[in-house]
Point group: C2
Chain length 319, copies 2
């Protein structure tokens, strides 16, 4: 890959994640090509607008494409699609990837890098865990309310820790130069499971109970329930070879108590009538742990409740 500043990016999806970080990279001087579906015409005409606590960005004439055939060769692809759009990923990603192209999977849940690697085997795949409160509020319009860090780690097909690879360092440098806070992690699996320790209880309970994180963590019964779910996720992580520090649970609960009221990404999806990322966030870790001989019964309750809610709302909401 060429040096800092010269890398060309493609971004799949211009929603809460792709729109936020793609606009940041473009504002920092990178050539960024957005591949869009439903928002294509709107962004072509009106540009891409990101209102952010860290400063607003309006890209008046971004490079937008309906499909990969018109995108020039890029060095890095950011995958900003929801995991509920796997069909679009399989359709769009291969055309953007040549041998050595870096694909950064900015998706939620478990197994998302493996799915990207499966449809684009020539790619060098990284995973990015976004710690941000960002929402697509309309076509070509993202509102970024709080936080913004990404934990980046390199994918290895065998799931073992890959260490800090050169590709990881290069993408981290570009994002930092675009004022995005980056944590480089050596073990993608551990980083994914660590994020699940928070996402499984709080994404799940916020939708099932129609509640914000501060309500959940303030009420003693849901705080105790979240703690037990976290214990299960930590047991699952250990079962699949990614043991997490013992203090992880209490750190995350403390963090949540100190956070301002926060609508999780799944709550935002539910409120907007979008499909829920229950397969990536709840079903995949439950299945991985069960395969490793450690069932996660509370996680499986949430999974089934969320699938019911998701099934009921299909066809009634917009996506």
């Amino acid at each position: 890959m060429p040096g800092v500043g010269a890398r060309r990016y493609a971004v799949l999806g211009a929603g809460a994640i792709g729109g936020l970080y793609g606009a940041r990279l473009a504002a920092a001087g990178h050539e960024v090509h957005f591949v869009l579906r439903s928002d294509l015409d709107h962004v072509r005409r009106h540009g891409l607008r990101v209102e952010s606590v860290y400063g607003d960005v309006l890209l008046e004439r971004p490079h937008v494409h309906a499909d990969p055939t018109t995108v020039p060769e890029v060095d890095v692809v950011l995958v900003g699609l929801k995991t509920t759009h796997d069909a679009a990923l399989a359709e769009l990603l291969p055309g953007l990837v040549r041998p050595g192209t870096v694909v950064v999977v900015l998706q939620n849940g478990l197994g998302v890098e493996a799915r990207a690697a499966a449809v684009a085997p020539e790619a060098v795949v990284l995973g990015g865990m976004c710690f941000t409160c960002s929402n697509r509020v309309g076509p070509g319009h993202v509102r970024h309310l709080d936080y913004g860090a990404i934990t980046l780690a390199a994918h290895r097909p065998d799931g073992a820790a890959a260490g800090i690879t050169p590709e990881l360092g290069a993408v981290a440098a570009d994002l930092r130069a675009a004022a995005v806070e980056i944590v480089e992690a050596e073990d993608l699996g551990a980083a994914r499971w660590r994020k699940l320790v928070w996402n499984v209880p709080f994404n799940g309970l916020s939708v099932v109970l129609d509640a914000a994180t501060d309500d959940l963590v303030r009420h003693p019964d849901t705080a105790a329930l979240a703690a037990r779910i976290m214990d299960e996720v930590i047991a699952g992580a250990a079962a699949v070879g990614h043991p997490l520090p013992a203090a992880t649970r209490d750190e995350m609960l403390d963090l949540t108590r100190r956070m301002r009221p926060y609508a999780t990404s799944m709550k935002l999806d539910a409120d907007a009538g979008r499909p829920l990322e229950v397969e990536a966030i709840h079903a995949a870790p439950a299945a991985a742990a069960r395969t490793a001989g450690v069932p996660l019964p509370s996680v499986e309750v949430l999974r089934d409740q969320l699938r019911f809610i998701d099934g009921r709302s299909r066809g009634t909401g917009a996506d």
Copy 2:
């Protein structure tokens, strides 16, 4: 106790259960004394009305009392209060009980007979599990939509099977003569746990997911979840010494598939803004099983979710 037809009854509460069965006994010729709180003036003025699939009953001038002091000596007390009214039970029951008075606890959940026996130690305590779809739709006004059987069993302080006692036979005879279907059971604990096998999943999920039983049993994920929760309750029953037949789970699921759409008692309570019977239906069996060394993790998830929902609605609804 005197012979059939001569027994005098007191009924605590004239809601969905006390109103239904008390009116049935009065219509069959028994002297029935209702002890009422909030509905007292209304019932005194307008009577007690039970609309039932088995025939409507209007008691124009029922015996009503504000407290036990004006109630003549009775042979049997039917406890039709919700378990969320334990304070009223402790206040009202002792004044109705003399040595040998039969108390029939027509409440949901686990441990309800022991609580009645604790506040009225001279009573002969029976438990009654009501299989009915009945609802208090207004003061002195009960709507009975479907079913109506009661499983009766005798309480023993040690929790063991008491067999078919004379008092149980006498009350069963009175209720049958009042056209109530009665099943006499030898083991109260087994009967209570058997009812929990259905009540724990369907009361709980109907409230958490705002759904009717037919939706829950038709959706494959909630059907599988209900089956796992039933397995846990059956394991809990075995752990505390009341093993249930292996076929219990599948029988109950089949029954639910064949039932017409049904709003559970907890769903009716939630929709009316009344407190939820989560302590009796979910917390008590989870605690009993945990004490016996068999935690019920899915039941504990429901328990905590329901406590959160219950806590949120307190103060906003009527009771």
